[in-house]
Amino acid sequence: MITRRYRVALLLIAVVTAVTAGRASAKDASPAEQARVIAQGKDIFKTKATCQFCHKWDASGDQGYGGNALSLRATKLTPAQVAETVKCGRPGTGMPYHDQFAYTDKRCYGVSRADLGNDMPPEPNSFLNSDEIDAVVKYLFATDVGRGPSTYDDCVVFWGTETRQCESMKQ
């Protein structure tokens, strides 16, 4: 009988292992460092930039007051493309930019704020520096991108056990 807590721990280890094995850029980083970066990415996704407000906690996408946010579980974008989207947002949509200097020059898609006019992406909840953007992308590819529907255990990994948040996913 494997307890839920143990299963959650196993899942975390599996995530770290997957990242270690799968990401070329991670070759030189220790598992502890990779875990730290992913934890930082999660904090950005969950709280600092509050990506989950629109994309939902499991990055499966959502609608309504978060805008029509795409599923990152189903995305075909590469890590570099996701990083660019986080940095520059998506003009004409509700996806914010997170580089504080985006559109002050032509670093994003070769256009400035003046060029975009009303298609300017929204201001973010919080600006992110390049390390933070790297962390949130690593987090997404470690836990969400390319995965099927989220599970109860995924939910507990995200929210912890001290909440009723995952109750409805319990089988």
């Binding site: 906690w57 959502d62 609608q63 309504g64 007051y65 029509n68 009303n118």
Partner: protein, 591 residues
């Protein structure tokens, strides 16, 4: 002599206690509530009075003296924790002030009892934290972590929390007497509104119009902590109005019509006027053919048993998310020389309405927002949108102003945030002017065909978002403050604001109107001209309405400051992008 000595010994502790105790609050009762205007030193009720005026009869701070208005103290509050989809809680609350004690809430429902009797500092005497499961409740709050305040009852404080509970607290100590679960986040229900206490009943309702709830108005018997009545805002089959849900698939069960702002009350007819929110799914009106009563409406209700006396629907089959939850002031006035008893409403849909408050019939209405494109006006007889089609199951209104399946993109003015959202108006009865703080501008809507909930054969689970689409900004939103004649909605004065307003107004007998803004500006305007006569910047966004009170003969103005700067406010206002959230009470007085 001995008897006298005994008596003196007996009363000595009480004398000592009263010498040390700065406040002598009487119990709150219904009569005090009805006569709140006779205690201008206090702010006893959410709107200052039951009629919904947000008017202080104090006039020490006036056009001549306001130049000497300065911050006299501030108090740092809490509630900044993250939870669910939110990085922190907001401050949208209205302080309640009674005999030198102030009761305020933060977004996570903590209540602070603050001794403001010295006039030089606010001393927090107790704090009650309801201990919300923040992830669970915050994940189904559509638009922020909010709590708009408490109510007084006898020697108790009545408060609510986002997770749907109501609390009775000991006013002197903050100890909990009882709690009652009213709304359930497991169903997407939350509570953000200040309770309305009528006699011994506390009346609230749930938010959740974006989560497929079925709204209700609920009364708690404060003597027992048990439910006294509950009236659903969407009629069940067989009840009057149920024929306005024509889908044939029981979509009324998830039809929204939430309740998240406090009702007003007319004592003469013993009637509450409760604003009702949007139909769900918000932007997919084809999901719910029919007028969808009583979404986007006002209900006149008996506060003792919850029976509906009449209803008036502002935007039938609402495809815009035009919640009409906000206040409905109760005004006695003359129209064409005749005495009229009216209830008025600055609606989210951009029109100002005056209704006969006995019959619910339309008296008059007028566009008050700068730009309005979704209809061509109001029918002068019925008050319905001029292009409302009584034969249509799904209203088109002005083509291109809301999405439809197969033609999803649209632009609506005022924006779906409303001409006026929850932030309350203020009414100066001496001048017979009502002050409307607004969001001006347009935004884009996009319809996405909504799916059904699992109990109706679809994939959506309880707590899933249920909006039938989304919105996006198409240009800069700005704000305005307008002074209207409440009998006909005619604009008598107006001032353009740099930012859309999400704070709400305070009117005073000093003929001033106070209003906070997203950039931290807290300003006073001349009540006749709306010229700005005083301003102070608190350094963090204001999303709450001010109150006024006095202690020891000196008038103060108090406001809560500190809120999430909505990305939708900032999108075209980049000057706000580095502002930080705080959680503060600011109190101003004359130097």
């Amino acid at each position: 002599m001995r008897r006298l000595l005994s008596a003196a010994l007996l009363i000595a502790p009480f004398l000592a206690a009263s010498a040390l105790t700065p406040v002598h609050a009487a119990d709150m009762n219904f009569d005090r509530g009805l006569n709140a205007g006779k205690e201008p030193q206090n702010w006893l009720l959410y709107y200052g009075n039951y009629q919904g005026f947000r008017f202080s009869a104090l006039d020490q701070i006036n056009g001549d003296s306001v130049k000497n208005l300065k911050p006299v103290f501030s108090v740092a509050l809490g509630g900044l924790q993250s939870g669910g989809r939110y990085a922190f809680g907001n401050l949208e609350g209205t302080p309640i002030v009674e005999d030198g004690m102030m009761y305020v809430t933060d977004g996570w429902g903590s209540v602070y009892a603050i001794d403001v009797s010295s006039g030089t500092r606010g001393l927090v005497k107790w704090k009650f934290d309801p201990g919300i499961d923040r992830a669970w409740a915050g994940d189904v709050a559509c638009c922020g972590v909010n709590n708009r305040g408490v109510a007084l009852w006898k020697d108790k404080i009545i408060s609510i929390a986002l997770d749907g509970r109501m609390f009775e607290l000991n006013k002197a100590t903050g100890e909990k007497v009882w709690e009652r679960k009213i709304a359930d986040p497991a169903l997407g229900e939350t509570i953000t509104m200040a309770p309305l206490v009528i006699r011994d009943l506390a009346i609230v309702g749930p938010a959740g119009g974006e989560f497929g709830i079925r709204g209700f108005v609920d009364a708690t018997d404060l003597n027992t902590g048990q439910q006294a009545w509950r009236t659903y805002t969407i009629p069940a089959p067989g009840e009057p109005g149920s024929d306005t849900w024509k889908d044939g698939e029981n979509r009324w069960q998830h039809g929204g019509a939430p309740v998240w702002e406090t009702a007003t009350y007319d004592a003469e007819s013993d009637t509450i006027y409760q604003g009702i929110g949007n139909a769900g799914a918000d932007w997919d009106p084809q999901y719910r053919p029919g007028d969808n009563k009583w979404a986007a409406s006002v209900l006149a209700m008996n506060p003792t048993n919850g029976k509906i006396k009449w209803g008036f629907q502002y935007t039938p089959n609402d495809p815009y998310d035009f919640d009409e939850i906000s206040e409905h002031p109760v005004i006695d006035t003359k129209i064409n020389g005749k005495d009229r008893k009216i209830v008025v409403h600055a609606a989210r849909n951009g029109f100002f309405y005056a209704l006969d408050r006995t019959s619910g019939t339309f008296v008059g209405g007028k566009q008050y927002v700068d730009k309005l494109n979704w209809t061509t006006g109001l029918d002068p007889e019925t008050g319905l949108p001029a292009n409302y089609d009584p034969k249509a199951d799904v209203q088109v209104y002005s083509p291109g102003t809301h999405g439809m399946r197969g033609n999803p993109m649209a632009t609506v003015c005022p924006s779906h945030f409303g001409a006026k959202n929850w932030e309350p108006t203020a009414y100066n009865p001496n001048l017979n002017l009502i002050y409307v703080p607004s969001v001006e501008g347009c935004d884009g809507l996009e319809t996405v065909e909504e799916k059904s909930f699992t109990d109706q054969g679809g994939p959506l689970k309880p707590r899933d978002r249920f909006s039938g689409g989304s919105f996006k900004l198409t240009g800069r939103l700005y704000g305005s403050l307008k002074a209207l004649d409440p009998t006909n909605g005619e604009t008598k004065a107006s001032v353009k604001l740099d930012f859309p307003n999400y704070a709400g107004a305070l009117a005073t007998a000093g003929n001033l109107v106070f209003l906070g803004e997203a950039d931290g500006t807290f300003a006073a305007y001349d009540a006749k001209t709306l010229n700005k006569v005083w301003t102070y910047n608190v350094g963090t966004g204001i999303n709450a309405p001010a109150v006024s009170y006095s202690v020891n003969g000196k008038q103060y103005v108090a406001v809560l400051a500190g809120s999430r700067q909505s990305p939708f406010v900032m999108q075209n206002d980049p000057q706000l992008k580095y502002t930080s959230t705080s959680s503060m009470l600011f109190v101003f007085g004359l130097n």
